[in-house]
């Protein structure tokens, strides 16, 4: 009797979890299928599973047109840029904050932690306004008036450095606690200065945590559609998720709806995060878990 209920519970567990997993994955299945439809067929189908009678693979190749490839390249470049910057920042700052003693160290650490609880609403719009009023660019005079500043300028999606990234400095600091000082002391006796210690001791020893930082930052920046969406209206200078943001926001207005194109682009935009996720899943999970537990 006891055994029967145990088997029953196990099966129930499987059924419930499978149902949940299906719900979680369903929108991606829908998106993939819908992106392979022709426009007319999608309009007629209106099904929960819009299986195309004949898959239009060329929908997915839309990004390999001269106009289509730019946003994709921009997204890659922006992701690479911020990933590198944040990794450098986390390693350097995390290292000196955890190992060196100097005046004001407590202040810097407190400042880093404080920035993590400041609601983004306080900076979102003013940062946008500031971007429009940077002096001497985009037709602005020395007071920052008269032009549009860096709005719609490619630099706008590369220059800002949000303070939410400082959480990774903190994570690196925590990781340094687990590394015995002996390695650095040995390097110092061998005559290594600051930079050589960083490159030859700290970075090689801390590669796992650097991977955690890189993967999570890359995923976050790839998916950050809001900043390019706000700052740049020309899709040739924007990113793929921001371009999709424009298309999806337009769905709320009246007019013509090219759903298959949106879904085809969505499928393309999901591919890089999926690849990162499937190959580097443990780094992502570790990033989330350690941010939650140590933060």
């Amino acid at each position: 009797m006891h055994k029967v209920t145990a088997v029953g519970l196990r099966s129930l567990w499987y059924i419930v979890m499978l149902a949940i997993a299906f719900i979680m994955l369903y929108p991606f299945i829908f998106s993939l299928l819908a992106g392979l439809n022709t426009r007319t067929e999608f309009g007629h189908l209106g099904a929960l599973f819009p299986v195309p009678s004949e898959p239009v693979w060329s929908n997915l190749l839309i990004i390999f047109t001269p106009r289509g490839i730019r946003p994709v390249l921009n997204t890659f470049m922006r992701t690479a840029w911020y990933t590198i910057i944040v990794c450098i920042m986390s390693v350097l700052m995390g290292y000196v904050l955890s190992r060196y003693n100097f005046k004001g160290k407590k202040f810097f650490i407190t400042a880093i932690l404080t920035t993590q609880v400041i609601p983004g609403v306080l900076t979102l719009i003013p940062a946008f306004v500031m971007m429009a009023h940077i002096p001497f660019v985009g037709g602005n005079n020395w007071m920052g008036m008269g032009g549009r500043g860096l709005i719609n300028n490619s630099l706008a999606i590369y220059l800002p450095l949000g303070w939410t990234f400082l959480i990774w400095v903190f994570l690196f600091m925590q990781a340094m606690k687990g590394l015995p000082r002996g390695f650095e002391e040995a390097a110092e006796i061998d005559g290594c200065g600051f930079w050589r210690t960083i490159f030859q001791v700290i970075i090689p020893m801390q590669l796992p945590i650097i991977a955690v930082i890189a993967v999570n930052v890359a995923l976050g920046v790839w998916n950050d559609w809001l900043i390019p969406f706000m700052y740049i209206s020309d899709i040739q200078r924007s990113t793929l998720p921001a371009y999709l943001g424009q298309l999806v926001a337009a769905l709320q207005r009246f007019g013509d709806r090219d759903y298959p194109r949106i879904f085809a682009l969505s499928t393309v935009a999901i591919i890089p995060p999926f690849i990162i996720f499937f190959f580097l899943q443990r780094y992502i999970i570790q990033g989330i878990a350690s941010a939650g537990i140590k933060g």
Binding site: V121, L122, V129
Partner: protein, 308 residues
């Protein structure tokens, strides 16, 4: 080891120069990053507060209007309605997400070969941007051609004009929010669950404690910090949620799903009512922090009482 003692033997004057050298490097590393981040974050924060005291449309110079925007916020228009709507929609999203993710974490905290697959599937929605997945919901909810109504028709149920009903649009906003946010929360809960010392459960088993008692007296107290983290970051997230609203409902029907954050976004980036955007943004930021502080005080107070 002999190397280490050699360093220490070098005498006090060396130690002082070493401390100075360390401080110099530290400042050279930290201060440029801090200044740069301050320019892009602290400066806008201060500008935003100042902006709230002006009337400003981005074309002409701002004019100082004192507290007028703040008075307007509390006495005219629908700002308080929007703030309240941000709060209650956010509260539904956050509380449901916290409870559901906890239940799923409990369900996943067992030994099974399928566990990895289920955990992965929970997390996948979070790795795609809102702008990339919300079109699925928009398309399914299309009143005429959408899959949801076709499905209902197939079941013999009358179609629902989703976008004409505040209830249904809030419902779908909540569904979408949870769909995206449940994975990370589940993983954080799971991390907390695995951090609990298993010997506590063994001891409880020896004492003959029931499963519910084990959850009440071991699991829940062991998850205090994880719970605070999920709820605090959740409060900050839902109080600024506007992307889901923008993509799924655009505030419709008739502005009945419009929230304060979505209004601030439109004032700031679309209609350039920047003075009001600054004032409303400052108010929403302060309200968010107040909620966080109140939550923190309640938790700390309760913990202090339990420990006493």
């Amino acid at each position: 080891m002999s190397g280490m003692s050699a360093v220490k033997l070098r005498g006090p004057e060396k130690t002082i120069t070493r401390a100075m050298r360390e401080a110099r490097i530290a400042y050279w590393v930290i201060i440029p990053f801090f200044v740069y981040i301050a320019i892009w974050n602290l400066l806008p924060l201060l500008l935003g507060v100042l902006m709230g005291f002006t009337e400003y449309n981005a074309l002409t110079m701002p004019t100082w209007v004192g507290l007028r925007n703040y008075i307007r916020f509390f006495t005219q228009g629908d700002y308080l309605t929007l703030l309240w709507r941000q709060v209650w929609i956010g509260l539904i999203c956050l509380s449901l997400n916290t409870v559901l993710s906890f239940l799923i974490a409990l369900a996943l905290n067992i030994k099974s070969r399928a566990k990895g697959f289920f955990r992965t599937s929970m997390y996948i929605p979070a790795i795609a941007a809102v702008s990339v997945t919300s079109a699925v919901f928009v398309s399914l909810l299309d009143p005429l051609t959408g899959g949801a109504n076709r499905f209902l028709a197939g079941m013999g149920i009358d179609p629902i004009t989703w976008n004409h009903s505040q209830f249904w649009m809030v419902f779908w906003v909540v569904v979408y929010f949870i769909w995206r946010a449940i994975g990370p929360a589940t993983i954080i809960w799971l991390g907390g669950l695995q951090g609990i010392d298993p010997s506590l459960y063994e001891a409880a088993e020896v004492d003959g404690a029931s499963a519910i008692k084990k959850v009440r007296y071991i699991t829940l107290p062991g998850l205090r910090f994880v719970a605070s983290y999920i709820i605090l970051t959740g409060i900050i997230a839902v109080m600024q949620m506007f992307d889901i609203i923008m993509f799924l409902t655009a505030g419709n029907p008739f502005g009945q799903t419009d929230t304060l954050m979505f209004r601030i976004y439109r004032y700031g980036a679309v209609t350039f009512n920047l003075g009001m955007a600054g004032a409303a943004g400052t108010i929403l930021g302060i309200v968010t922090l107040l909620f966080a502080v109140v939550y923190f005080k309640i938790v700390l107070h309760r913990e202090a009482r339990e420990d006493a």
